[in-house]
């Protein structure tokens, strides 16, 4: 099959909407890294930047949805074109959600920088955020390359993020038990860790959409679940 439609305007529409996804993805990756850095370096100004940048992400999502609606109305896309539109809409809403979590991390940074340091926590979160950002980058590359293999690999990497979260969960519990004055900071940090773990889940959702786009089928094998904090009492220290 050739890549070009007989109606070349249709090609331009599809290219534009996918370019907007990539732009949105770039902004979201940036937000994740900056939010994590601001947390670690207690950089309130950077945190403020992240909070303000979220608006652009939201606006892009809206724009993508409008473009998708217009393409559906005007072009009645079928087969792979239809899958592009459907996956683009879902990817946009997942990206928007990741952006919200990054913004939330930045918000908490502003609060946390007024409190005592929790040893090692922010560096661990930064590493976790870095891994999520890499997943996101790879899955968006897979989207552009129509590469289902890379998308599957990204789904599996979510397991690592879940493990990192489990470790942090335990650490925070320990800190809180050691000294109740740590509770406020640890609660905030725990939310950040949990939200970062959720970002990984959203990256996994995007990977599913990429697989659907390429193969026409939603992957059946349930993605690996390694966040055991909600089911396994032994995760928490006695």
């Amino acid at each position: 099959m050739t890549d070009t439609h007989i109606a070349s305007a249709f090609d331009r529409d599809l290219e534009t909407i996918q370019a907007h996804i990539m732009k949105m993805g770039g902004l979201v990756e940036d937000a994740i890294l900056k939010a994590a850095t601001s947390l670690e370096t207690r950089d309130e100004e950077l945190a403020e930047q992240v909070r303000n940048a979220d608006r652009a992400i939201d606006e892009l999502e809206e724009q993508i949805n409008e473009e998708a609606a217009r393409i559906i109305a005007v072009r009645q896309p079928a087969a792979v074109d239809l899958r592009v539109i459907l996956s683009v809409m879902k990817i946009a809403s997942n990206l928007e959600r990741i952006g919200d979590y990054a913004k939330n991390m930045a918000k908490r940074t502003t609060v946390l920088s007024q409190m005592g340091q929790i040893h090692g926590a922010t560096a661990s979160i930064r590493r976790m955020a870095k891994e999520v950002e890499r997943m996101l980058k790879d899955v968006l590359d897979a989207f552009v390359q129509r590469d289902a293999g890379t998308a599957r690999e990204v789904m599996h990497r979510d397991e690592d993020v879940d493990q990192m979260y489990n470790a942090l969960f335990r650490e925070f519990l320990t800190f809180m038990m050691e000294d109740p004055r740590n509770i406020t900071a640890c609660m905030h940090l725990h939310f950040i860790a949990k939200n970062t773990e959720r970002m990984g889940d959203h990256a996994t959702n995007i990977a599913e959409q990429v697989i659907y786009l390429v193969t026409g089928e939603i992957p059946e094998d349930k993605r690996p679940k390694s966040d055991r904090t909600s089911t396994d009492p032994s995760v928490a220290p006695a």
Partner: protein, 265 residues
């Protein structure tokens, strides 16, 4: 609470109505249909799609031996209707066409009254014993053609005086008057406006409860809307045949994909 199934999309496996095996059609030296194998189900709308000259109309016309009327046309292979070879010497093509009705691209009512347009088939096939029975058949057919309410007060006006959409529904009513088992439709909506098209599509969906309907259409959206099964023809080959939903969201063959997405293939 019960789940409400999406009826239009529910594909149930029905009995095979038409079974074609290794069908070849030649127009003189031109090989128009190549090795087509397909099973058409009863009580199902099957759409034939494909670019111009791909053989979809030719194949459709094989199903009620309309190609017999073309001298240079030669049909090979087996086409079975309910297990019976329709090209068998014992089969009377006129009887076959009463069983396998056809509606054409352009509405072609007879230059007779609306009543006589419908009554013509039942009369020659002797389906009515008396006037009362014939009246009943005419009314029933016009109702099935979703045109009864519009013409009941002028049954003796000429059929050619109706609007294009009404004429087409009249032709559908005429086609169902002989109680066919299969209805072949060759681009039945291409000369109609969107409203008349919707009415005909609605009608096709109703006809599906009684008949096997096969429709040739250039409108992919129409194929997607009205059919449960879709067959894609290309250069005389049946490239892909499957559930309509699958063909339009996830076709297996690249040529199908190129065609339905409007790419140069």
């Amino acid at each position: 609470m019960y789940d409400t199934p999406n009826t239009e999309r529910t594909v149930t496996r029905n009995e095979t109505k038409f079974s074609a095996r290794k069908v070849q059609v030649y127009y003189g030296d031109t090989h128009a249909i190549k090795d087509v194998d397909v099973d058409i189900e009863d009580k199902t709308v099957t759409a034939f799609i494909g670019p111009s000259g791909c053989g979809k109309s030719t194949f459709l016309r094989c199903l009620n031996r309309m190609n017999d009327t073309i001298d240079v046309c030669r049909v090979e292979g087996d086409i079975l209707l309910d297990g019976q070879d329709i090209y068998d010497k014992k089969v009377d093509p006129v009887q076959l066409r009463a069983k396998v009705g056809m509606v054409f691209q352009k509405p072609n009512p007879f230059p007779k009254s609306i009543y006589d347009n419908i009554a013509y088939g039942p009369r020659i096939h002797g389906l009515a014993k008396n006037k009362a029975e014939l009246d009943e058949i005419v009314e029933k057919s016009l109702r099935r053609g979703a045109i009864w309410n519009e013409v009941k007060d002028r049954l003796h006006a000429p059929g050619t005086g109706l609007s294009g959409g009404q004429q087409q529904r009249l032709c559908i009513a005429r086609a169902v008057a002989t109680e066919p088992e299969v209805l072949l439709m060759d681009e039945p909506c291409s000369a109609l406006d969107p409203i008349a098209t919707s009415q005909v599509e609605e009608l096709i969906d109703e006809l599906r409860t009684n008949y096997s309907v096969i429709i040739v259409t250039h409108s992919m959206q129409q194929a997607a809307r009205v059919s449960q099964k879709t067959a894609f023809f290309h250069l005389g080959n049946l490239v892909e045949f499957g559930e309509t939903g699958q063909i339009f969201t996830n076709p297996k063959d690249e040529r199908t994909e190129s065609y339905i997405t409007g790419r140069i293939g």
